[in-house]
Symmetry: D2
Subunit: 235 residues, 4 copies
């Protein structure tokens, strides 16, 4: 039951540890026999989220199997508080699978935000872009295959041949992270400033988290995603 | 089913994620369709351990509930690659439970190793030490209780009163860690250079790990615990 | 030029790496030849702080030498993103130096906040508390010295004898951290919810940071310390 | 004074904190007034290295500016214990600079090690490989430029256009790390199992470290690089 993302990607849950109750269990170890002012689980979780008491959220852990384009993987891997095992293109042969944007996601450079997208491309321009992306990927892959082939030749090392492949080729990994750092990832990557192609992965994971730890996710949505940060001056 | 450690402590497994098979599953994602030279699980795990391919071991996670004296907790917490929730002595009242060494662990300062123990104390010296440890702990705890009492007085804040308590009082925490970093902890703390009082916790955890991931633990014992590090000069 | 903190403690800067300009230098590597919408350093730093672009702040590093009571050290060490070397009480003999609260900081348990302090103690109650703290510390230290003494006896191992000492005895460490994680530490520990005894260390470090990276500190004060977090519901 | 690496890359030191003496200073804080059995700096550093006392090495920090091909960057970034700011291909336009292996590094897939290289390619095969790598890179870059151009068209967003570029295009980053984790990086990446293209960066950094902290580097070479790990069974 993998959740499909982009044209060939997916997010699949491999394993979980803990749930909303485990967050509360850990938080309550702190309170021992002390008075319990916040007694119900959802209230306690909202309290922890609001006050940035993040360590109880670290008591939950999730392991995902993800298939994603390399340029998305390059952004994702910047989150250092996770455990990762990636498909090795030194050891193995990459598949002929490339991400091509759907026409409605073929956007122009934004004119207001240097790091974002503007309007959707159309007409001939859109067609040319798609043709370039497809043709260059296919040609690069043909040459990749040819270079590593051992028929009638020595065959280039895989670790070298892969350097010819564009950044929209797919890779795969196992990715394991605790809930606190996963929520931090989601805050940054399910956000409007994140590139669309990683945002759709973050959105898919949001659905997973909502099912897994509904109280924590709701508190996260309320205080982190939907919330606002005001400066002292603004106040 | 907590494992008892020292006079009042314990180690109790709260939850696990993954096992020997999960280590191999993650390692094999790297190999994809590549030739599998190492095909059986134990062989693969030994290979990973021998070559310090540590990330597949990070795919397993364990959560422990531990009760331990504060001077042991101070050494333990230095391992930063874990998730922790500790009993709060600001919020709650500590129990009247102190570690007192068994007579056979009442050792003299080593005369050869500045950081270690020598022979066991005996006779009057041993008795005096035990008396001091017990009496001082009891008196400190009596005063702690008296200071925080609100009968006929305001009652000192708990966060202040606890400063009177000696380092052999017990605390508790939830401690969650991945297998790679747990083995690193065990290498350092189940070692002869570690203080006896933390070593017995490490030893108890070794038993837990041996049951949980028998291949990984055997490889660890062979390559890390029992192994030796030779310098280039020695070679 | 150590900054004195509490009755025997201090914070002393050992070394720095980077400054406000280094934050901007790192942030600008991202922008390359792109248009620079934010051109002056203070504006850029405020932009980074406001948008939680935290990695450029990691480009600055500071190393402190700190002397602090053990119960403060126990809270401080929970911040895992730092490098630490602490005085060893297995190897060395601790000094006879204990923290005793000034009369105005001898507070009652708060009746509204389970984790806080209320009014200042006074009269006989205050005197008794101070007497207990002083006498118990002195007695514990006398016994510590007696137990480790090798005059006419074997002498208890230091690693065991120290367990008799209360949590207000002083220890020392070198503590090195990057600016992003230091600001995170300060947000949590210079905050009103933090225990007074660690807050005064955080306050002293705030002064150090203000001098070191004035733009970053001002942005931090404005967006993190003085700011407010509103939930989606509140908005 | 950047050290050139590969055809267009480099390693340049931006800043340092600490040196051999700083390692010893931190290690000695542990010993306090205790007997100093190891009194000279080099001896102490060798002792720390031999016994895996790694935290004093964390007291030194280095910041590098590195230019490197993306497929090397993808291996490098897996080292999570560092601080990184990379050139943004969402924000900025990448340069037309690609890594092309020198003829003597154009190697065949190893027939004994699935993750390595065998003999050097020669003759027509080598020529064809080089032609493919060069032509595909140039064509991909031409199309990249054409797609982002705003002359007579909207111009594709940079964050999308870059997905057409192959993994041998160069990127840049600031990379800051402590000495312990740098040595760990060097052990893995200056090793024969590492891919040649990252090994040359590791080798260049080895030269930097040798100059910076000569005692630490020598101890590292002796105990980590040149040393051997024996299993209990082997012993
Ligand atoms: C020859 C070679 C082949 C490789 N092949 C593959 C491959 O096929 N597939 C693949 O995925 N990778 C591969 N790698 C990468 C490898 O798995 C590591 O990701 C990389 O070497 C970084 O090592 P590290 O994790 O020890 O370093 P760092 O990330 O710098 O970590 C150092 C130490 O810090 C601790 N640590 C840091 N961050 C965390 C965290 N978030 N959680 C827990 N502990 C943490 C751990 O104790 C770790 O050992 C290969 C590496 C080499 C050298
Ligand atoms: C007022 C107050 C009351 C507190 N009460 C309690 C209590 O009752 N009980 C208790 O146990 N603690 C308590 N704490 C401590 C608190 O839970 C944190 O341990 C402490 O504040 C350090 O915060 P941190 O984890 O964000 O910092 P750091 O450890 O410096 O971490 C910073 C960030 O780095 C990442 N990170 C670093 N290391 C890891 C890792 N190993 N795994 C995953 N992510 C990592 C996380 O994203 C983390 O948010 C209290 C703290 C405060 C300020
Ligand atoms: C016998 C013995 C004696 C000791 N004596 C002393 C002493 O006198 N004084 C003293 O201060 N300590 C002492 N220690 C503690 C020791 O210095 C370490 O703090 C402790 O062993 C934890 O080891 P670690 O850092 O490898 O583990 P972890 O903190 O779990 O880290 C594992 C690895 O992750 C990486 N890592 C994790 N967090 C960070 C981070 N914030 N920054 C950079 N890298 C990180 C590093 O690669 C590290 O090696 C002693 C330990 C032992 C076993
Ligand atoms: C919209 C957007 C644009 C971006 N643009 C750029 C860009 O142009 N250039 C660029 O280089 N990056 C860019 N990034 C990546 C960004 O700089 C971070 O690397 C990434 O978001 C991961 O965030 P993190 O460091 O908080 O997460 P994690 O690495 O998961 O860390 C979480 C927390 O743990 C602690 N931590 C973990 N590891 C360490 C460590 N080794 N040392 C110290 N503390 C540690 C820190 O407190 C950290 O905040 C961008 C990200 C976003 C969302």
């Amino acid at each position: 039951t993998a959740l499909p993302v982009l044209d060939h990607g997916f997010v699949r849950v491999v394993d979980y540890m803990g749930d909303d109750a485990a967050i509360c269990q850990a938080a309550r170890v702190s309170y021992g026999r002390g008075t319990k002012s916040v007694s119900n689980d959802e209230g306690l979780i909202r309290y922890l989220m609001r006050h940035w008491h993040s360590t109880p959220f670290e008591m939950c852990e999730i392991k995902l199997h993800v298939k994603l384009p390399i340029f998305v993987a390059r952004q994702w891997i910047r989150h250092r508080t996770a455990n990762v095992n990636e498909y090795s293109a030194r050891y193995s042969i990459l598949d002929r699978e490339f991400y091509t944007p759907a026409p409605e996601h073929l956007a122009a450079q934004s004119v207001v935000n240097n790091q974002g997208r503007g309007e959707t491309l159309s007409g001939e321009e859109a067609e040319r872009v798609l043709r370039y992306l497809r043709d260059d990927a296919m040609r690069a892959y043909d040459h990749y295959e040819e270079m590593i082939s051992t028929e009638g030749q020595q065959g280039l090392a895989r670790e070298l041949a892969r350097m010819n492949l564009p950044a929209n080729i797919y890779t795969q990994w196992y990715w394991k992270v605790d809930l606190h750092n996963l929520l931090h990832f989601l805050r940054l990557r399910a956000d409007a400033h994140a590139q669309y192609e990683i945002r759709v992965y973050a959105d898919a994971i949001c659905e997973v988290v909502r099912d897994w730890v509904p109280f924590a996710f709701r508190a996260f949505e309320d205080y982190r995603m939907g919330g606002a940060q005001l400066s002292a001056t603004a106040l």
